[in-house]
Amino acid sequence: MTVQKLPIAKAINESLRKAMETDPKVLIMGEDVGKLGGVFRVTDGLQKDFGEGRVIDTPLAESGIVGTAIGLALRGYRPVVEIQFDGFVFPAYDQIVTQLAKMHARALGKIKLPVVVRIPYGGGIGAVEHHSESPEALFAHVPGLKVVSPSNSSDAYWMMQQAIQSDDPIIYFEPKRRYWDKSDVDTDAIPGPLHKARTVVAGSDLTLVAYGPMVKVCVEAAAAAAEEGKSIEVLDLRSMSPIDFDAVQASVEKTGRLVVVHEAPVFYGAGAEIAARITERSFYHLEAPVLRVGGYHAPYPPARLEEEYLPGLDRVLDAVDRSLAY
């Protein structure tokens, strides 16, 4: 049985298990990752099977988690670190930005930092403050880091395999509100490259680019638009650093229109980078300015307002219409 229908959370769990079986140097570290299996159960059962020496419940200190993971990596281990929620990565931000991102370059390549930082991110789960954020741009701006996010179970599985195998530090953003969404995982497949975008829906009138939790919304938007006779292409970016600009460019040069969608605030977000670069690359192909749909320049609101804050089907379609109106 190589193809299974798995929820994203379980696909990551299986991927971690596979990596730990394959490579004794792979470790899991974080708060509550052991007996509890993480607050989202992503590491469920792993401590039971691999022991406390490989699935490590850490003190409640994120800088300490990432800092010691760096030390373990220097010793030859491959730590996969869990940050419990997006909003709690900031105490570790210094270690990530000044050490994890830069140590390989600082050592002129003589040491490697194969550390994966897993971060459940994004909103839509009705949580209290700090549990619904999308800070990916704050990592993608930093040279030395790579930043990815899967949108489905197969990617969740394979991108985790690839992230662990990579000798570079990778920030792996998990779309927490999609944890329970099921889709097929072929554990015998030969995966494509980690940092390439994927065409989810082919279309010819406009390109929608998204990643992580927003891919689903964009696919729905494409379907809704199709009913109105509009042919929308949906690209799952998968990687926010590097960005597969070639794929976006190719699509845009076909459709002539681009809308970028993410949950993070639009201001200084990934959409800005994509808009700027694609406009530069495809200036004469664009029929309309690149439009962005995303979070407002506001703290993530209380749960009862999150559906207003998050880009939803209507807001995406509104942007599609505005783009097509040019």
Partner: protein, 391 residues
């Protein structure tokens, strides 16, 4: 962690000053206790309280009502009225004892679990529920009751408390500040930095650590290998462990620490040794990581029961008191229930409010766009019903 290992760390010798051992758990000062689990009043060489029966009944009432409120909130979460609740069950004595030690002009920096302290400060309990319902991120004016907003990012508030206390000292006021945090929080760099700053500036702050034995699924052994109160001495101020289920001891120890702060002698770390009787929050399932027996052992140390026994044995409270308190509890429960159910959802435009005190051009622009976008639904033929579905 098992019951045994926790018990093994129970200290044996009492002292206001902290003990000496490093690297091993011998010669710990025993935890300060004034009321045994059996409801016996005991003496302590360094700490005492002299309370009238009325004051004792007051503490009892505080604990009972706090527990009632907490139970109601848990129930409201189950009914879907709240998104989440962080119960203080079992920690009533630590919170009421320390909360009642405070003066009005003192200032409190809580975590997300200090419902009992909020009660002592006079914060309307229903105000605490907004953030758990998801209508706001903190629904009260911190300066109305000198009770800061709940802080969710573990440990952050200890620095705010320290800075506030530095300000108090600058002002020449004799108020004190109290910072609550948990056993898990003790590992955060921010908490260590707050120890350093408060010691160096001799800030009038009390660090009140509720060691409830657990940080979600992690036992205190994951945070430290020696009793937490000992942390203080390496920063140059006293640490003391108090029976966190003994409201009298918590009151006495906190009062003493606050007085010390007022006298300009700087910070104190109080470790209230207690237990989280419930789940971490309503999202948590403690059966995954801890044994029932542990909880049962702690049930015998219940903070409310022991005070009740004492009140009864001493004849400080009669049936009528308990009956009327029962009634008061029910009234509180009802009031909370109704208030929560009546709590309106915030206006969607609230997303754009209070982000900046002085405004921000982009917020203005986005607010206007959002309003126009919303309005566009209203003018469509469907009469605007689509607006709510703009998900």
């Amino acid at each position: 962690m098992t019951v045994e290992s926790t018990a093994a760390r129970k200290p044996r010798r009492s002292s206001k000053r902290t003990g000496s051992s490093a690297g091993k758990a011998v010669a710990d000062p025993q935890l300060v206790q004034l009321l045994t689990p059996e409801g016996q009043r005991v003496e302590h060489p360094d700490y005492d309280v002299d309370l009238t029966p009325e004051e004792l009944r007051g503490l009892y009432r505080d604990m009972v009502l706090t527990r009632r409120f907490d139970a109601e909130a848990t129930a409201l979460q189950r009914q879907g009225e709240l998104g989440l609740w962080a119960s203080l069950l079992g920690q009533e004595a630590a919170q009421i004892g320390s909360g009642r030690a405070l003066r009005d002009d003192d200032y409190v920096f809580p975590t997300y679990r200090e419902h009992g302290v909020a009660w002592c400060r006079g914060v309307d309990p229903t105000n605490l529920l907004g953030m758990f319902r998801g209508v706001n991120h903190g629904g009260w004016d911190p300066n109305s009751n000198n009770f800061h907003l709940y802080t969710i990012v573990i440990g952050s508030q200890t620095l705010h408390a320290t800075g506030y206390a530095m300000g108090v000292a600058k002002d020449g006021a004799d108020s004190a500040v109290i910072a609550y945090f948990g056993d898990g929080a003790s590992s955060q760099g921010d908490v260590a930095e707050s120890f350093t700053f408060s010691a160096v500036y001799n800030a009038p702050v009390v660090f009140f650590c509720q060691n409830n034995q657990w940080a979600i699924s992690e036992p205190t052994e994951r945070q430290t290998r020696v009793p937490l109160y000992q942390r203080a001495q390496g920063y140059g101020f006293p640490g003391v462990r108090v029976d966190g289920n003994d409201v009298l001891a918590c009151l006495a120890v906190t009062r003493s620490a606050l007085e010390r702060a007022r006298r300009g002698e700087g910070p104190t770390l109080v470790e209230a040794f207690t237990y989280r009787m419930g789940a971490h929050t309503t999202s948590d399932d403690p059966t995954k990581y801890r044994a029932d027996e542990e909880r049962e052992a702690w049930e015998a140390k219940d903070p409310i029961l022991r005070l009740k026994t004492y009140l009864e044995n001493e004849g400080h409270a009669d049936e009528a008191f308990f009956a009327s308190l029962e009634e008061e509890s029910e009234t509180l429960g009802k009031r909370v229930r109704e208030a929560v159910r009546a709590m309106p959802d915030p206006d969607r435009m609230a997303i754009f409010e209070n982000i900046y005190a002085d405004g921000h051009a982009l917020v203005d622009e986005e607010r206007a766009q959002f309003a126009a976008y919303q309005a566009s639904f209203a003018t469509e033929s469907d009469g605007g019903f689509a607006a709510g579905e703009g998900k």
